[in-house]
């Protein structure tokens, strides 16, 4: 294994592989900044270019792009309140308020530091788990996925702040929306209103862009002035780095969470950041600042979504089961170069696997350093007039939404969720549960049906399922007690 690790490193550091790595990093940053583009689009474009490259070069290019999108997507999330990719939705919760307070540079300092850290944790977990990949990946079946989805839904409570009822209601609304399209098991189209666009269901990107970005846009238009309400930039990037170091335990926990969720096919970046965010809210004693610019609310999702990538690689290389859509493309790249998942890559082509691991690690660190160097300039965007920023943001989110299916329906969904998001924000209804419901609704329905169909009701007795069920009950109990204690303190104040 050591020899393969050495070979892999030398392969990545040699020219032209290192050049391709930097090219991939640069392209990954560009794609991450433009909402809706994402690493998946970039990798699909790059894939044909890898046909003529050697394996190390191909992996350097693809991993360079893949690894850094969840680092760079922080930029539009913090500066504009627009998720750069699916993995930066939760970053907006506290990152954007920090920018409004003139703390954008501090937010970036913390985010880039934990992104690099999370990426390294993910790569390390991949290395450590090589000998034990099989039981890790195969321990989770349909019943466990179902219960994990239900556990995810209970986090609605943590993300609902002081109004759990509203939070659960909007999560149910989102689950209703998630049922639009074909039922997972049968060829029955549901709620499609005879509009073919809806047959495949509502796409997440236009919905999320509408829900989170449009209300912020409207607020900027109403408020006028610039994005940052504070004329100076506030504390700088090094303060953010210090924040990251101070909260190392949050970063580590969330990184490990990210790796584990990355292992599970179908969950991916769009949910890992919400899980991490909900976890840090749930587990913190002083929660008052969450949603108002608490740096922990940034550290949690940013470390998780980078670590997730190492986790997603595990089932991809071990079994050819892509942990995400981007992994499917990476797998395509491997196959094109005659490197097959399973015994081939784990035994006879271990050097190629290590080239992937090294590329993942190096890309995370290089991207973080590069972006930190540019931070003070990037953060000045917050001082631009709203009248200039608004049309730019509109163009970005309209094109971002368009990338879902390139149909006018994407824009209709965008504006519809924009109106919904605005109304929810106006009335103080929590929006994160909508994202959870949209992602987890189909997940829970599919795996519930599969569990019953394959195992009957005995699936409820499986050990991991029981453990997760206990976690579900515990989460609900804690949430209800917290709400009751809030209600009591509100009554006392009145």
């Amino acid at each position: 294994m050591l020899e393969a690790a050495q070979l892999g490193l030398l392969g990545i550091l040699a020219w032209p592989a290192i050049g391709y790595l930097f090219l991939g990093i640069f392209l990954g940053i560009v794609f991450a900044i433009i909402p809706g583009l994402s690493g998946l689009t970039g990798m699909a474009i790059l894939l044909p270019f890898t046909f003529g490259l050697m394996p190390y070069e191909a992996m350097a290019l693809l991993m360079g792009m893949f690894a850094v999108t969840t680092t760079a997507d922080t930029i539009p999330a913090v500066l504009l309140g627009v998720p750069g990719t699916a993995g930066s939705q939760a970053t907006i919760m506290d990152g954007y308020p920090m920018a409004k307070k003139g703390e954008a540079a501090r937010a970036f300092g913390a985010a880039y530091t934990v992104s690099a850290f999370g990426g390294l944790v993910g790569a390390l977990c991949l290395v450590i788990s090589i000998p034990v990949l099989s039981p890790l990946v195969l321990a989770f079946g349909s019943p466990e996925f179902c219960m994990l989805g239900i556990l995810g839904l209970t986090m609605v409570a943590s993300l609902s702040g002081n109004s759990i009822l509203r939070g659960i209601l909007v999560a149910l609304l989102a689950m209703f929306f998630s049922m639009i399209g074909y039922a997972p098991q049968a060829g029955i189209p549901r709620f499609w209103l005879d509009w073919p666009y809806l047959l495949e269901g509502l796409h997440l990107v236009p919905a999320v862009l509408g829900l989170f970005a449009i209300p912020e846009l409207v607020e900027l238009a109403v408020r006028k002035g610039s994005l940052s309400e504070v004329p100076n930039m506030g504390k700088g990037i090094l303060d953010g780095v210090r924040d990251a170091l101070r909260h190392w335990w949050v970063a580590l926990r969330c990184s490990l969470m990210g790796v584990y969720i990355g292992l599970i096919p179908g969950l991916g970046a769009s949910i890992v950041d919400w899980f991490a965010y909900a976890h840090v809210v749930q587990s913190s004693k002083n929660k008052e600042k969450f949603g108002k610019g608490d740096v922990r609310g940034l550290i949690a999702p940013e470390s998780a979504n980078n670590a997730m990538k190492g986790g997603a690689l595990i089932p991809t290389v071990a079994f050819g089961i892509p942990g995400s859509a981007s992994m499917a493309i990476l797998l395509g790249g491997l196959l094109i170069h005659g490197v097959y998942p399973g015994p081939d890559i784990l035994e006879s082509r271990l050097d190629v696997l290590f080239s992937i691991i090294w590329a993942l690690s190096l890309s995370n660190v290089i991207a973080s350093i590069l972006l930190m160097a540019l931070t003070s300039q990037i953060a000045k965007v917050t001082t631009l007039r709203g009248s200039i920023l608004i049309p730019i943001i509109v163009v970005m989110i309209f094109m971002g939404a368009w990338m879902a299916t390139q149909d006018i329906g994407d824009l209709i969904v965008l504006v519809f969720f924009g109106v919904l998001g605005y109304l929810m924000k106006r009335w103080g209804w929590p929006r994160p549960p909508v994202a959870l419901g949209l992602i987890l609704g189909p997940f829970v329905e599919r795996y519930l049906d599969l569990s019953v169909s394959v195992f009957g009701w005995s699936w409820l007795g499986r050990p991991i399922v029981v453990g997760l069920l206990i976690a579900v009950v515990a989460t609900i109990v804690v949430a209800v007690r917290r709400q009751q204690s809030f209600d009591r303190s509100s009554i006392v104040e009145e």
Partner: protein, 167 residues
């Protein structure tokens, strides 16, 4: 005391309740495995929507905007409420809806640059800046989305009505 905001919010919750009823009714025509989830969500959602509507209507939702620290979402400043804010909000949404219509009629390559130009001018920006940013928009759309990603553009229906090739 019930405010107009409470009334509107409660009505919104009632609209959601109707949506959940629709879910339950629609599910009746489907086989069991396709109907189960919509029925469960519909029943739970309907009950909760009615509950929230009543809670808001009877005034306990007054603190929904302020809340206390656990709120995991962003705050709309209270100072933004009021007539001027409402007008600006409606105007902004009108721009967005207008842009969707513009894209449908003209396609993105024309509609987005025009939007950029008109918005900037309506906001009082100088001509040189407006034109510069508009040209930047065109470069961005063509350079990134057309030449690199080869995105499929919306062919404006106006062109097909007029029988000419879209841009």
């Amino acid at each position: 005391m019930r405010s107009r905001e409470n009334l509107i919010e409660a009505s919104f919750a009632l609209v959601l309740a109707l949506l959940f009823i629709y879910s339950i009714v629609a599910a009746r025509q489907w086989p069991f495995n396709a109907a189960l989830f919509p029925t469960i969500i519909g029943v739970a959602g309907f009950g909760l929507a009615i509950g929230v509507s009543l809670v808001v209507w009877w005034g306990r939702g007054n603190n929904s905007v302020k809340g206390s620290g656990i709120q995991g979402d962003l705050y709309l400043e209270e100072t933004l409420l009021g007539g001027q804010a409402l007008r600006r909000t409606i105007t902004t949404f009108a721009w967005l809806v207008g842009l969707v219509l513009g894209i449908w009629l003209l396609g993105q390559k024309l509609a987005l640059p025009l939007f950029m130009l008109f918005y900037l001018k309506a906001a009082g920006e100088k001509w040189w800046l407006s034109i510069l940013l508009t040209l930047g928009t065109v470069a961005f759309l063509i350079g990134v989305f057309d030449q690199v990603i080869y995105v499929s553009w919306q062919d404006g229906v106006l062109f097909s009505w007029l029988g000419i090739d879209p841009i």
